[in-house]
């Protein structure tokens, strides 16, 4: 490091960093930094739950895919920045485990802070070392909002590491500085693409404003313009735009895939923050010193002692604070945690988090947790779709569907307005037996989200069910190169070798038995036709039956509901589900017709419920608004309530 060649053991270097500035290089500083990063880690692991980002929730479109093998790696070697992108893609896969993802992000935050600390020390600004926590707070915000930006941030970290290497490796001689800069430039540009620009800019600022070596600074700035052109355009033959912007937040490749525009600024902030620090420190040196470089900046020890003995007003305040180390440490810690907490609070979006959770639990078939999460959500079509699936799988569809907000237009997400909501419906479609529709959704998901393992798995399954073994093998082949789903894929590939038709695979056979055979386009957009076609193929398809009955209840087609209630006998229900009974009561009440069922329906309790409901409603003079509160409290989860008010989910 320029101006400081003191050698310290590496472990103490880490301790020193945790401690921060010279003034608080004590236990308090270490504890503060440790607590901060441990809290950051725990927050990301347990609260943000980074596996939700891995899953993507049908929202994150820029999460990278990663395949094992040389062929996949080789394509990243063909352009500047490819290696960091490859590393980012690999590290991103570890988000599969929330604890591992949190560890990566925490280490990233720590490393960036370490680099900033290194620069601050080189610039002789130990008092500003609190700034090293800023990147961690920015990362906190980025991940709290469930966005993915790892590649750009890794490029920034790589550039900062090179800045540190440059600062450490340059002992002051211009020639060696330039040699080190040149070597780092070539390597960094290849590894981190546009991230190199940050390195060149920071080095130039350092040389011009801090070291006062104008010629070198200008040379570095020029190299910032020349290296991408020579390396990118002339050697790697990439476009001029790509040569200068690869991996930077404004790269069209990244901008193109960014879903949350509002988050875009934050990655800019990352880069801007580093540049502003460098510029700020440079200007501070230029404006407040006599033009001495770091090599000569400190003057003699005697001079500094003299200054310390006769401090100005600010100096006196600083000395006063420094003398009260514990107090200062507490204040700094409070400020740090307040800022971090404020950032988390400002960026927190509970509704969005629940949506990610619901999508994840739905994919992982964690039904109870899904239903618990959904209770905290005001309801939207995507959540409702997942809730209905969970209710079916827990055997509560006919009992609890009106405990949650239900909207007929979002049922199975088939309405035209959900044309592109492919992610949220392929699972339920496969389970129902609408495999062609699921396959189409999955194929569209590939276009929208890339070759994500969950999608490849779905496509492999859909093709196995359809008997398209050739294409299933291709999807399984690709899946076999992923990190966490290779086992599942290889198991199926092995099975296909011995049993190409998978005739002994019970799950595949079960799904094949229910695949709709009627080739009729309207099935894609008409819930009733689709569900009837499924029941036509397999009258024991209980899922199709329950969805059909729910559809009839939701759309108040109670005549069709009553016509189909006799299908209950095909499924061996031990009792008529509560909501079905309530719908039959409503039907009988409205039409005066009776419904015959093998077995009995109309438990006394249900009869009592409709009587109570009617009594309360009548007691308010049949005024819906007036009766709402009491009916919602006692019957908000009933079909009686839905049939009167047209909405549900009020009894949470």
């Amino acid at each position: 490091m320029a101006g400081s060649s003191r050698k310290v053991p590496s472990s103490s270097a880490i301790m020193r960093w945790f401690a921060g500035s010279d003034a608080d290089r004590d236990r308090g500083g270490v504890i503060r930094a440790l607590v901060f990063f441990v809290l950051l880690y725990l927050y990301l692991w347990l609260y943000v739950d980074l596996r939700l980002i891995y899953h993507g929730g049908g929202v994150i479109t820029n999460f990278p895919v990663f395949f094992r093998g040389r062929a996949f790696f080789e394509q990243f070697t063909l352009y500047p920045g490819g290696l960091v992108e490859y590393a980012g893609a690999f590290l991103a896969q570890l988000f599969y485990y929330s604890w591992a993802g949190a560890l990566i992000v925490t280490l990233l935050a720590w490393s960036i802070g370490l680099c900033i600390d290194c620069f601050l020390k080189a610039a002789d600004a130990p008092g500003l070392r609190g700034l090293r926590f800023v990147p961690a707070i920015l990362l906190l915000v980025i991940y709290s909002r469930y966005t993915y930006r790892l590649a750009s941030i890794l490029a920034l970290l790589t550039a900062l590491l090179c800045v540190c290497l440059y600062l450490r490796a340059t002992a002051g001689r211009k020639l060696s500085c330039m040699v080190v800069f040149g070597v780092l430039s070539a390597a960094l540009y290849y590894v981190a693409g546009g991230g190199y620009l940050l390195f060149a800019a920071v080095c130039a600022i350092y040389e011009i404003l801090l070291m006062r070596r104008w010629a070198m600074g200008i040379l570095y700035l020029l190299s910032g313009a020349a290296v991408p052109y020579i390396g990118g355009v002339l050697i790697f033959r990439v476009s001029v735009i790509d040569a200068y912007s690869e991996l930077l937040p404004f790269s069209w490749k990244i901008a193109d895939r960014v879903t949350h525009e509002k988050m875009f600024d934050l990655v800019y902030a990352f880069y801007a923050f580093v540049l502003l620090i460098a510029l700020g420190l440079g200007l501070r040196r230029t404006l407040f010193t006599n033009g001495t470089g770091p090599g000569e900046r400190r003057g003699s020890r005697a001079e500094r002692r003299t200054k310390a003995k006769h401090p100005g007003l600010i100096g006196r305040i600083r000395l006063s604070c420094a003398s009260k180390g514990v107090f200062r440490g507490v204040v700094e810690s409070l400020v740090l945690f307040a800022v971090a907490g404020g950032a988390v609070f400002a960026s927190y979006d509970g509704k969005q988090r629940i949506e990610f959770e619901v999508s994840y639990y739905s994919s992982a078939q964690m039904w109870e947790r899904l239903l618990r999460s959904a209770r905290r959500h005001p309801g939207n079509h995507r959540v409702t779709n997942a809730v209905n699936r969970a209710l079916y799988h827990t055997g509560r569809f006919g009992y609890d569907m009106f405990s949650y907000p239900q909207l007929a237009e979002g049922f199975l997400l088939t309405a035209e307005k959900f044309t592109v909501t492919h992610w949220d419906r392929f699972d339920v479609r496969i389970e129902l037996g609408l495999v062609c529709m699921a396959e189409n959704d999955l194929a569209e998901c590939i276009g929208m989200f890339g070759w994500r393992p969950a999608i490849l798995k779905g496509l492999a399954l859909a093709n196995l069910v359809k008997g398209n073994i050739g294409s299933a093998r291709i999807y399984l082949g690709a899946l076999g190169k992923t990190l966490f789903d290779a086992g599942w894929a290889n198991q199926y590939l092995d099975r296909l070798e011995s049993d190409p038709n998978l005739s002994t695979d019970k799950e595949i056979q079960r799904l094949r038995a229910r695949v709709v055979e009627k080739d009729h386009s309207p099935v894609f957009s008409d819930n009733e036709q689709a569900l009837l076609a499924l029941l036509e193929k397999d009258k024991t398809n209980r899922m199709a039956f329950e969805y059909l009955m729910s559809w009839y209840m939701l759309t108040r087609q109670l005549d069709k509901f009553a016509d189909n209630i006799k299908r209950l006998n095909d499924f061996g229900y031990s009792e008529v589900p509560r909501l079905y009974e309530e719908a039959l009561f409503v039907y009988a009440y409205e039409t005066g017709k009776s419904v015959a069922l093998n077995g009995s329906w109309g438990r006394p309790k249900s009869g009592q419920r409709i009587e109570d409901f009617g009594r309360i409603f009548n007691s308010y003079g049949r005024n819906k608004e007036a009766a709402f509160a009491e009916l919602a409290k006692n019957y908000g989860d009933s079909y009686f309530f839905y049939s009167v008010y047209g909405f549900s989910g009020v009894k949470n």
Partner: protein, 534 residues
């Protein structure tokens, strides 16, 4: 500083030693000793891709393959009548053939057989020699480049659609243009004139930049202000005929291929390159017919195209009898000097074949007419029934009968998107034989008698590439030279406002709209996100 230099030096030394060890011990010795005894398998080994019994061009990249036999070590000897035998020894079943030696061997043996002797060492250390795999090296070379479209199997979202070119003599693939250069628009069929790239057209659709055709001529790119569908350059290069299609996508609830498309309306028009003018003729834009897939005869005197009756009056709904739509193959004479069209003739009628006849392509020597037939409709790549057929136009010219024959190279899955090499000896086509929906590019040799020999899949450096390749490759067009236009420049032209204006009265076939039809329907109601075709 010295410490860093020492570390760096140590790293270099370790690296060099590692490379040396790998070079020395990395490649296993083969069973070439005279004392070796081979077991013999009385069958040919299974290799993937299937490069056996095919005819290959001398200028093709090495046919790297994987030996699908279990073993610990593999030895492949590639030899022919003349030249040095190539021996590849590998612990992996993936056989990578050295490029330079492969090329020299093939070039020295034009018209000769190329043999692969494959030996596999089992766990007991015993080598087994399989029956020799034999291919034939054609005397005629294939065009050096293949230009194709590489997309995801489903692409309503219009993500990552690109036209790429592959150097067939190596494994080099480069991007011609992809849709990220114009905000994720769509780019369709690329069309060349006489297998050269100095005249090229690419259809562009973009929400942000509109629909247009990108004309690349002698290195200069221009945007024509109208959308070109399927396009065919006149051999003179003076005009290009293109189709205007009102495409509607729909889905099958139960079928191997979920997607389907129908042209609810279509016609042909032509662009005169010199005058930058677009025209049509009543004969190629009939109100009661759907015209599409134009193809010129080699002498430019006839335009072949497909035509089906248009039996519906609404252009916003899929007709109930969509699976009864079948196209005839027709032709019409044309005099380029006077710009006059002659009379329509039916070459082959769907009524006679019972199938829909699509995608006619005529060999540059004018002898062969290659086309698809499938059970119905206008889009063979979505129909598993689509097969390739051929007509000998020379014989037809002599006896007046267009006799067609189904080619032996077909599979149970869709074959389509065929093109000819400039010497009329090779065809490239798309096939889904490896698994629908993945189309792959296949190459096949056509001999002097019109026999099309067993096709082989476009070779890749990684022989297992296709086992997990999630791209589809469509519209493989053989060209003798690379596309030299720079992608950034093409992207700029697409994004730019400058374009050749097209004052064309008909933007859709049959422009009248029936009463009561909602606004937009019947005029195409451009919904670019709705349809994409492979």
């Amino acid at each position: 500083m010295k410490r860093y230099y020492r570390c760096f030096l140590a790293f270099l030394v370790v690296l060099a030693v590692g490379v040396l060890i790998y070079r020395t011990y990395g490649s296993p010795a083969g069973p070439s000793g005279a004392t070796r005894q081979f077991g013999s398998a009385s069958r040919a080994p299974e290799i993937r891709p299937d490069y056996s019994g095919t005819v290959i061009p001398a200028n093709i990249a090495p046919l790297n393959f994987a030996v699908m036999e279990e073993g610990l070590q593999y030895c492949v000897r590639i030899h022919s009548l003349k030249g040095e035998q190539i021996e590849v020894n590998s612990r992996s079943a993936n056989i990578t053939i050295p490029c330079g030696r492969w090329r020299r061997l093939l070039e020295a043996n034009l018209g000769q057989q190329l043999k692969f002797d494959i030996l596999v060492k089992d766990k007991s250390g015993q080598w087994t020699r399989y029956e020799t795999i034999t291919n034939t090296i054609a005397a005629e070379a294939i065009d050096d480049y293949l230009v194709y479209r590489r997309i995801h199997p489903a692409c309503s979202a219009w993500k990552r659609i690109g036209v790429y070119q592959r150097n067939l003599t190596s494994f080099d693939e480069s991007l011609v243009l992809d849709n990220r250069y114009f905000s994720d628009g769509c780019l369709n069929c690329h069309t060349f004139c006489n297998n050269k790239t100095d005249k090229m057209l690419i259809g562009i659709r973009s929400v942000d930049y509109g629909s247009s055709a990108l004309l690349v001529e002698n290195g200069k790119a221009k945007k024509i202000g109208t959308k070109f569908g399927y396009t065919a350059w006149h051999p003179s290069g003076r005009l290009a005929v293109y189709s205007i299609n009102q495409v509607n996508q729909f889905f099958h609830s139960s079928a191997g291929e979920v997607r389907d498309v129908i042209d609810l309306n279509s016609l042909l028009a032509y662009y005169l390159d010199g005058s930058e003018e677009v025209k049509t003729s009543p004969a190629i834009s009939k109100k009661d017919r759907l015209e599409t897939y134009p193809a010129w005869s080699a002498d430019g005197r006839y335009l072949y195209f497909c035509s089906a009756p248009l039996t519906w009056s609404r252009y916003d709904i899929i007709p109930a009898d969509y699976n009864q739509i079948k196209y005839d193959l027709v032709r019409i004479s044309y005099d380029i000097d006077s710009d006059t069209w002659g009379e329509l003739e039916t070459v082959l009628s769907a009524a006679d074949t019972g199938q829909s006849i699509l995608l006619p392509r005529i060999s540059p020597d004018g002898r062969w007419l290659l086309f698809c037939m499938c059970d119905y409709g206008c889009f063979p790549v979505y129909r598993a029934s689509s097969d390739l057929y051929m007509i000998d136009l020379k014989t037809a010219g002599q006896n007046g009968r267009y006799e067609y024959r189904r080619l032996d190279i077909n599979s149970d899955e869709s074959e389509s998107w065929h093109s000819w090499s400039s010497n009329s000896r090779w065809i490239a086509f798309s096939s889904k034989r490896g698994g629908d929906p993945f189309t792959r590019s296949y190459l096949a040799y056509v001999d002097g008698q019109g026999k099309v020999h067993k096709p082989f899949v476009l070779p890749q450096k990684d022989p297992t590439y296709y086992d997990s390749c999630l791209w589809t490759y469509s519209v493989p067009e053989l060209v003798v030279e690379p596309v030299r236009a720079v992608k950034e420049k093409l992207g700029r032209v697409v994004r730019g406002t400058e374009q050749i204006p097209v004052d064309f009265p008909v933007t859709r076939a049959t422009p009248q709209v029936p009463p009561g039809t909602p606004s937009g329907a019947g005029r195409g109601g451009e919904k670019p996100w709705q349809t994409e075709r492979e």
